[in-house]
């Protein structure tokens, strides 16, 4: 049985009210969702809070998940909307968001200099571009899957990924390789 089939079976059981099935979905997708949110918002504690809220919303809305849809993309989409809502509720414009990112204490875990540089470069990217980079470059999402998750046109996702990748490699001192 493929992972997608297992997800499908668990989703059907969760739709029928099985908390056990939903717990297995949480186990299977917590890593992908938390990693995506950590890369998108940069703050690990906040990312985990958003991931928890996203799972709670997923539980209440699982009846709306269409058969055959990617659970991973659906969860990341919910998480991304939570992140955008959190950003808006802070009432900051992009410049102030950037200031917040810069002032933020470092996330848990020791970071290499290169990782810190990457983190700084990521924080300068616009939210949509950053999310596209987090999904397509870090988490092996296809462009189509990222477009579905983020609710963006496919062409926009492709251009965000290309620009984001170029910017990150530029900051890290690497070559773009003409991609």
């Amino acid at each position: 049985m493929s992972p997608a089939d297992i997800d499908e079976e668990l989703v059907e059981a969760a739709k029928a009210g099985s908390t056990g099935a939903f717990a297995r979905l949480v186990d299977r997708h917590q890593q992908a969702l938390r990693a995506f949110l950590r890369r998108t918002c940069g703050d690990w504690a906040q990312a985990d809070d958003l991931a928890q809220e996203a799972f709670l919303e997923a539980w209440s809305k699982i009846g709306r998940l269409q058969s055959g849809a990617s659970v991973r993309a659906w969860l990341c989409g919910i998480g991304y909307n939570k992140h955008l809502t959190a950003l808006r509720s802070r009432g900051r414009d992009r410049a102030r968001e950037a200031a917040y990112e810069a002032e933020k204490p470092p996330s848990s875990g020791a970071m290499t200099d290169e990782r810190l540089t990457l983190e700084a470069a990521l924080s300068e990217l616009p939210a949509d571009q950053r999310a596209c980079v987090a999904l397509c470059l870090a988490a092996d999402f296809s462009h189509a899957e990222a477009a579905e998750a983020l609710g963006l046109p496919l062409g926009t996702v492709k251009s965000h990924v290309t620009r984001g990748r170029t910017r990150l490699l530029e900051v890290l001192g690497g070559s773009d390789g003409g991609r």
Binding site: V26, D27, R34, R38, T112, L118, A134, L137, L172
Partner: protein
Amino acid sequence: MADADDRLKALFAEDEPPARDAVFSAAVMAEVVRRRFIVDMALLATVATASGFLLWALWPSIAPAVATLSQALAPVGACLTLAAAAVLLLDRGVIPLGGRNHG
């Protein structure tokens, strides 16, 4: 090109959470169960309140019928209760059936 992508991927991998995190999953499920309990309680309270109001509103008209029916059905109700109790006790083996082989 592949090297650059591998390098980026390796850097991104540094903030990867563990594949299994029992603490995180338990926290999520505890909140799911708590919310479900609150929703169930709210639903039960709503149904109970609505039923109470309905009964209160209809009581003057149904009270005579209930009084009449309760007198007429009292013997039937008592017989059914006794029969149900007997079936339950026999089924659970509290009262052994004569000649029954329990294996």
